[in-house]
Amino acid sequence: MLKMQLPTLGCYFCVFAKLTKGSAMCANLSFNTRITIPAASAAAEMMVPLDPSAKPTSQRRIAEGDNVVVYERHDAMRAVAVRAGGVLQNRFGVFRHDDWLGRPFGCKVYSTGGGGGGGRGGGKAGAGFVHLLAPTPELWTLVLSHRTQILYIADISLVVSYLELVPGCVVFESGTGSGSLTTSLARAVAPHGRVCTFDFHEQRATSAREDFERNGLSSLITVAVRDIQSEGFPEEQRGAADAVFLDLPQPWLAIPSAGITLKQDGVLCSFSPCIEQVQRACEAMRSCFTDIRTFEILLRTYEVREGALKGAADDEECNAGPLPHREENYCLLRKLQMVYIILLLSWLGLAAPLKGTPAT
């Protein structure tokens, strides 16, 4: 039942580095570090399918216990667990979960009447609708509960690529935060890999664990409470990780431990908003990492609207005589007016809510 929130700070730096001198003793604790996968609870929609039957297809129907993402519009979505007798109320009206059962993901469902009240733009009776979508890590990022600043899709996708994650990898993360990245890490290493994520904040770890459980990711993700900056990663995980991701205020404190935890040739990423953090992290990496590279990634989003530009001649009262030159301009003008206006929305992809309401 969570709504998207806007980010308050947009720019982060990603520092990537490869381990050169790793924990040689443990270099063979490799790809095959699997854990036994508990059978996923049958009813729950799994965000990352662990077997072919779990993926959403056009023939898979919404069932009780499934998580669905209720899409009102581009910037208004929420995650809902479907249960018998359940009710969703929003500004478009009241939606009964029972009406959703048996329908395919991606379908459009209508409210049963009784407007949402508060929303001034919403429909009043019966006419409101929403779409029910199968959850993905990308959608989850837009609906999750913000317990901390979160990573968005541009950062996430770059991190997954540069960490060179493939199915079967073991990846360590600290801190867990709101679990935005964790979910994408899990997808990248599934079905046989593992994400070990650490947060010093106990309540935050518990909430993240609940979220992962709810999304059917518990078999892929281990959440632990631990202050990585002061304690480092657990000693017994020496050389266990293909990749380590740090999102910590003082990443340089955790970098030596990350070096011990990584396999040889493993990749480390440190994610920071401030340049001084980047400078100190790079400094700390230089002793036993190579290929240290720092990136900044932004995402600019465009919206397309059909719109007419005012013609230069629109301000005139009388119509000009059809001289050839002007004729041509009119013709071009008309063509232009049919073409869409590409509107630069924002640099983050999430700001700038759209005007108008889609429903009713």
């Binding site: 730096f13 490869k18 399918p49 662990l50 077997d51 072919p52 779990a54 993926k55 959403p56 297809t57 056009s58 023939q59 899409y71 581009h74 329908r103 395919p104 993901f105 991606g106 379908c107 459009k108 779409h131 979508l133 993905t136 890590p137 990308e138 899709i153 541009a154 996708s157 770059l158 690529s161 540069y162 493939v166 199915p167 079967g168 997808r187 599934a190 079905p191 040889q264 040739d265 340049i275 980047v278 400078q279 790079c282 400094e283 190579t290 290929d291 240290i292 720092t294 990136f295 990634i297 932004l298 995402l299 600019r300 465009y302 919206e303 397309v304 059909e306 869409y340 590409i342 992809g349």
Partner: protein
């Protein structure tokens, strides 16, 4: 002879050092022993410059392959930068057991990246218009096991559309292409003509890059060439573990087969999990109109293009047809920084061409939600 081709195979092993390669090259050089000490040193330096320490060989990954093509021969991969490719994979929710429909006109860069993410599960179905598939021979640069390679199938769009007995009677492909042979040939990847069509001289670029700065993640993407100084065809001294030559050769046999009729039937009934289109230089609007009905409902899709305008046209037509929601055009912007004491500053080299991505989610656009199929 130890050609570049065999040096490539080192990339399949984790961290084979450049020094090892240079030693192997020297050991296998028929002329090395006959050289003067000075010439020997010069030879060694030359080889060292080529293989160590400036080229640190790594297990190839989507990241390094994409970066290398972007640097050396960007037109071949439609100027697709690593951040754009990464976004495509995320936006199309590529993960285990996905059945990803792909239109790859960027030489196989996308097909290979999807196969890497699938890890031997699911399928990447590379589709194409007309009778001949586009080249996807970049997939041999990837570190794909034969299991992973077998998950790459190719099918003409006409076959996929004609099998679809859907309510959506929009596609003309049924009429036009059904007549063609339904079984496309397996792509003989290893034997394909080297197809680097643009005027970029990769060799020159390569040398320039190497002389100007250390490029530890370079991958040599030039085709195997004869090395005049090394004539022995003997690589016994090189311990090729992991994916060896035979496994590379096997890729050519397994990649790009036609999907089984059972698979075709399954996709027809269940739809593909997601769609990625990378057809730079092509008009994508009508393409996407044919592809979208092949997806399952709620399936995400991501369309790459070098230009903004074709995507805007496509997005507008999807808005009008109400077949997709969450439509958005994104332009990634990536900048690398030099971080050195007192010399930290951003680089600007890699920003000129990033491309654009249209993403969205296919929905059921009818109101009668219950009664489909």
């Amino acid at each position: 002879m130890i050609s570049n081709h065999y040096v490539h195979t080192f990339q399949n092993r984790d961290g084979a050092s450049g020094d090892t390669i240079v030693e192997a090259l020297i050991a296998n050089s028929s002329t090395f022993g006959k050289k003067t000490v000075f010439s020997q040193e010069k030879y060694k330096l030359k080889k060292q410059k080529k293989y160590a320490p400036k080229v640190l060989l790594r297990r190839p990954s989507t990241r390094s392959i994409c970066e290398t093509y972007f640097k050396k021969s960007p037109a071949r991969t439609g100027f697709m930068r690593v951040d754009a490719l990464s976004l495509l994979l995320s936006m199309a929710n590529v993960g285990p057991y996905s059945d990803v429909l792909v239109v790859d006109m960027v030489g196989g860069l996308v097909v290979g990246a999807v196969a890497e993410r699938l890890g031997g599960t699911g399928y990447v179905c590379s589709t194409y218009l007309g009778s001949a598939p586009s080249s996807i021979d970049i997939i041999r640069m990837y570190n794909l096991s034969s299991d992973m390679t077998s998950r790459i199938v190719q099918a003409p769009l006409g076959d996929l559309c004609s099998l679809q007995n859907s309510f959506n009677a929009s596609s003309v492909l049924k009429d036009s292409i059904q007549a063609e042979g339904p079984e496309p040939n397996t792509v003989p990847v290893e034997n394909t003509e080297p197809s680097i069509p643009q005027p970029v001289d990769t060799t020159v670029l390569d040398e320039k890059a190497q002389s100007s700065e250390v490029q530890p993640t370079n991958i040599d993407i030039s085709e195997p060439t004869m090395d005049e100084q090394i004539n022995q065809d003997d690589n016994s001294s090189l311990d090729c573990k992991g994916n060896d030559v035979s496994s590379i050769a096997s890729k050519s046999l397994r990649a790009g087969k036609a999907p089984s009729p059972e698979k075709m039937k399954y996709w027809n009934e269940h739809g593909f999990s997601s769609l990625i289109v990378a057809a730079p230089g092509h008009e994508v609007e009508s393409f996407v109109a044919d592809l979208l009905p092949l997806l399952s409902y709620s399936a995400p899709f991501a369309i790459y293009h070098q230009y903004l305008q074709p995507l805007a046209a496509c997005m507008h037509s999807l808005q009008v047809s109400k077949t997709a929601i969450g439509l958005q055009i994104s332009e990634p912007w990536l900048r690398e920084y030099q971080v050195l004491p007192s010399r930290t500053h951003p680089h600007m080299q890699m920003n000129a061409f990033g491309g654009y991505i249209l993403s969205g989610i296919r929905i059921h656009n009818g109101d009668a939600c219950n009664g489909i199929q």
